[in-house]
């Protein structure tokens, strides 16, 4: 079983960001962390990746303690894509594999494979500034999953993509994550997005961030590898959310309630 467990009372720059956070993610599960701005969910994601040290507690991935990105078997997908602008798409995907001591030829082959997986075959030689935001984020996803991580961490991956393309990118990303059977943690502050994306939603309170509630999302989940079947199920999922169906209505209300409680009244 794949388990990520966090129990920090993280004190950074004297501002208490996270307090007594404890959560676990099962293998193959897709989890969303939702909470008001500044609740430390992005920090938590970075702690899980090993980028940010914690003051107390520990992160375990497959029973291994994570202290540094080097020993973390997680891969991060960034809000602002963070592609290396001097590298083309292929070289950007290769970047994730470069610290893994993969032979150059093998590395390139794998990068090609993952670019194809995210639907960017033929764009290998394009530089980030020549790609749309959605395409850049797909390169970012390919870079992350090419490292064959235990957990994919996605930090508001859709918020830098314009609204028109956001929905199709959500489908695309979720489809790929399901197809490759990834374990994934999303950070988001959009309720509908969280429900659409995840099997489980962890709701956080305002700073210092604490786990407020954990909700299970009981919506149809595709478990076939066939692209069309996945998309069909996802569309069904989306319809259930958009139509505020019985299954989703209460969840939406609860989550929105959680979020609004976190907002300071003077704002």
């Amino acid at each position: 079983m794949n388990k990520a467990y966090v129990a920090p009372g993280s004190n950074r720059v004297r501002i208490e960001i996270l307090r007594d956070v404890s959560m676990s993610v099962n293998e193959g599960e897709i989890v969303s962390m939702i909470g008001p701005t500044g609740c430390g969910k992005t920090t938590l994601l970075r702690i899980i990746d090993g980028l940010v040290p914690l003051d107390s507690g520990e992160v375990l991935v497959n029973d291994k303690i994570v202290k540094d990105p080097k020993d973390s078997s997680c891969a991060l997908v960034f809000q602002r894509f963070n592609l290396l602008p001097w590298r083309n798409a292929l070289k950007n995907v290769e970047f994730g594999l470069e610290s893994k001591k993969v032979e150059a030829k093998e590395r390139q082959e794998q990068a090609r494979h993952y670019l194809k997986l995210v639907g960017l075959e033929g764009y290998e030689r394009y530089y980030p500034h020549q790609l749309s935001g959605g395409m850049q984020q797909r390169v970012g996803l390919a870079r992350a999953i090419a490292t064959k991580p235990e957990v994919v961490l996605l930090d508001e991956p859709f918020s830098s993509v314009d609204l028109l393309r956001r929905e199709s990118l959500q489908y695309e990303v979720l489809k790929i994550l399901l197809k490759t059977k990834e374990t994934a943690i999303f950070v988001t502050h959009n309720v509908e997005e969280a429900i659409f994306l995840s099997d489980k939603i962890i709701s956080f309170s305002t700073r210092p961030g604490r786990v407020k509630a954990v909700y299970d999302v009981n919506l149809p989940r595709p478990n076939v590898a066939d692209d069309e079947a996945i998309v069909r199920t996802l569309r069904e999922r989306k319809n259930l959310i958009d139509s505020r169906s019985e299954e989703t209505y209460k969840l939406i209300l609860d989550l929105k309630n959680d979020l609004s409680e976190g907002t300071p009244p003077q704002e």
């Binding site: 990746d49 980028l51 540094d68 990105p69 080097k70 891969a75 991060l76 960034f78 602002r80 963070n82 290396l84 602008p85 001097w86 970047f95 994730g96 470069e98 610290s99 893994k100 530089y127 980030p128 500034h129 020549q130 870079r143 490292t147």
Partner: protein, 301 residues
Amino acid sequence: MTSRKVHLRKSRERKRRAKLLEHQKEENDLIQDSNPEKKPHTLKTVFVNKWAVRIYAFLIFVIIWQIVGQTQNALIFAPPVAVAQRFVQLSTDPGLTLPSATLLTIQTVIVGFVPAVIVGVPIGILVGRSRTAEYSLDPYINLIYAIPIITLIPLFIVWFGSNMLSSYFLVFIASIFPVTINSISGAKNVRASLLETGRSFGFGGGAGLWRRIIFPASMPYIMAGLRIGAGHAVIGAILAEIFMYTVGLGLLIEDGASRFDTAEVISAVIVTIVLGVLLTEFVKYFERRVSVWSTAESYTE
């Protein structure tokens, strides 16, 4: 209203509409002009006009120079025709005076400038990234950069004597500071998000991070430093050749002036200018290649 009048009015209106369309088209052309890659045609016309104007301006300049030159003492102010004659003479005489002097100056520039880049870029990146290096070295870098290079010449003569070595060293000193200072800015301005990306994918502070993130991210600044440094290198070489170890183009300038051979001096100056421009353009070529992404990025950021 007669039918003829109606017809007239209609035709007038048609003309007006046509004119409006034409105007709109012109406007569209103007808008598209801002995207030169897509409209090579307009670019070409602009290009031709630009060069036509430049050539006319140059010809007028030369003619004025010729007229003024003829009224002056030929020893003190050589007109362009005399310069051209002397230029050809110096380039084709048995000793190949001008070409060999040019080669010698190029040699001085290269032998001084290349080590300046090799030493200056790593120092700059180090100072840009390390607090200790910054606090200990940055003041001196700025201090020495502020020294007019010519004031170092007497000191260099005392230290190294009047030889090629001191010329190389003067070029080195003249060009290393712009290279270093720009490399510092480059290394300082590496976006934190890129550093984080590097760390997240397993390059934590070691050589991998320097090679894969910090160095390429600083590249646009480094190239700008190289461009400025190349100009300084040419200046340094000429200064060294005039005041320290008189060879190359500096010798022609110094020697020509002492013999009141202004035509020779101007010939050497022209070659120096061409040398500086060519070297700068050479660096600019590489600069454009690396800055494609940096300029594109500054639009999206």
